[in-house]
Amino acid sequence: MTVADITSPTDETSKASGTKADWGRTLLIAIPYIWLLIFFLAPFVIVFKISLSDVVIARPPYFPTFDLSEGWQGFLAMLQAFDLENYVWLTEDTLYLNSYLSSLKIASISTLLTLCIGYPIAYSMAKAPQEWRATLLMLVILPFWTSFLIRVYAWIGILKKEGFLNYFLLWTGIIDEPLTILNTDTAIYIGIVYSYLPFMVLPLYAVLEKLDTSLLEAATDLGCSPLKSFWVITLPLSLPGIWAGCFLVFIPALGEFVIPDILGGSSTIMIGKTLWVEFFSNRDWPVASAVAILLLFLLILPIVLFQKQQEKQMEVSR
């Protein structure tokens, strides 16, 4: 095929250019796959490999390491040194199981709390006059303009014994003694809800704003009270937004490290924190990697669920 063929498609070449279009499409689809391969699968393989290794006091702190110069034999030797010891260890020490369960609990509760707070916010935004909506949306996104870390640190100032919150509550006379909030689970919930609220509000808003008001009119016209029509029309139709928001909050909350570390107490164990300790304090990279791999599989489950839900929703909305 020559350049002329490409630049002047005639009837005879239309078939050929059809296959060319196929090639272009394949290439276009391939780009995200290549991206995933390089930036997701490769690190995953590396972490997985480390999780099968043994810890040593060396640099890097695991064994075996693979040296290209040893060639095929070296590779085989490395494979033979692999074992599932670290995974077995994770089941033996209850610390890991407890961290997983505690993370699950904290992530679930804070996702629910975020939903309960986010839904009314998104709902009132969607019901607000058209000219206000852009501003309200800006306000929801505004916190992102400050570093996440700084915002979490700022909560220390609010939640600590001599903090703004206690000061305010004492001043209004609601409490007589300052509350201990900082370094408790409550502080973690507050931190997570605060940090991830926009991830809940945005998908909910997107769904609620698109909701056809004539559906609500039709429901009330057929004798359904406005409150009931919320339950039978608005809520079911906003389910895709609820799902999206919950997963967007739940998944990062499950592996959250910064918030429990900064706001939580020493008694709170979360898998992200455990992982950090294994990695940096104990320098036990293999166990840390095993924790990370298990966490990943734990997260894949809700993601797959999410995908399924999305597919179902796509079908309905088509």
Binding site: L215, C224, S225, V316
Partner: protein
Amino acid sequence: METSVLTQPVCKFAPWDNPAQKPLVRFENVTKKFGDFTAIENLTLNIYEREFFALLGPSGCGKTTMMRMLAGFEYPTTGNIALANTNLQKAPPHKRPVNMMFQSYALFPHMSVEQNIAFGLKQEKTSKAEIKQRVEEMLSLVQLEPFAKRKPHQLSGGQKQRVALARSLAKKPKLLLLDEPLGALDKKLREQTQFELMNIQEQLGLTFVIVTHDQEEAMTVASRIAVMDHGKIVQVATPAEIYEYPNSRYSADFIGDVNIIEGKIDVTTGETASLNWAEGETPLKVSTKQRPNHGTTCWLAVRPEKLRISKEKPENADNCIKGEVWDIGYTGNISTYHVKASNGSILKAQVSNREHLADRPITWEDTVYIHWEKGAGVFLEN
């Protein structure tokens, strides 16, 4: 089609002529504004029980707005709407004995056809068995039994429209508002559904208000028609009255085909007015009870099928216009002759095709005479 549906009630149903009759719906000087825009202007209208009332008018004239005020989604800016003598000013939509079929259908996308239809019934604690029976009844009415389990997005446009119709009918409300209920249906199904609607309305003694763009449909189903223009009602009358005696050029033109001839009054003698319509032509005569002054501009409206056309000059016809055949529109059962008069205006005359095409004597560019009785035309002052 069953013959029973075709027979119209013989006894005269005309509660609007009876001053003792209380209207079911009463619009009193209703004005509705959206910001600066006046959608409905000082409208007064009575709709009686058991009526099949049609709203007819061009797009954007306020038909849906009137419906929405009746259903309770909009409130009049000024004026009052009463339903069966209760003031509806404050009643919320879900407390009104009114159901509406939306122009946009507004089907619940997450519910099946069945659930959509059952929705209204479920709100009023109807027993399960009765709901089931009523839903089946409605499904068979709109011929959607095989689609009961489908979701709205799996239906065609016409099928969706039928679901919307079934859903609004299911509760058999005292007053049913139908906003273009049959627009998306093919001709045959539409006609069938029209008769079904009339049947239901009659059997259950309900009151229907229907919006339609199809004047033929309005003529078929309605007991009375309101012709609307820009938020005002131009004429309210029975289909026959509107057709035979339109009160203005607007309603004459809106319903059916019509020739409108502009002229100035020559003389008015007895119940006949003469109209000078073109220089050098004999004035046209038309029966009227009005006594307009000499020289006022008026109009004569006459339906194409009331005109006769011949090649020879007719003797002692009330009105006769000589012209040339400009065009012939052939639609199978009838032919429409477009005849150009001396002043250049085109008159339409309809003739039913009794003979075969080849046997018909009049053809293009023939000189012909169009004639009609003075009683066939309608005298219009605006």
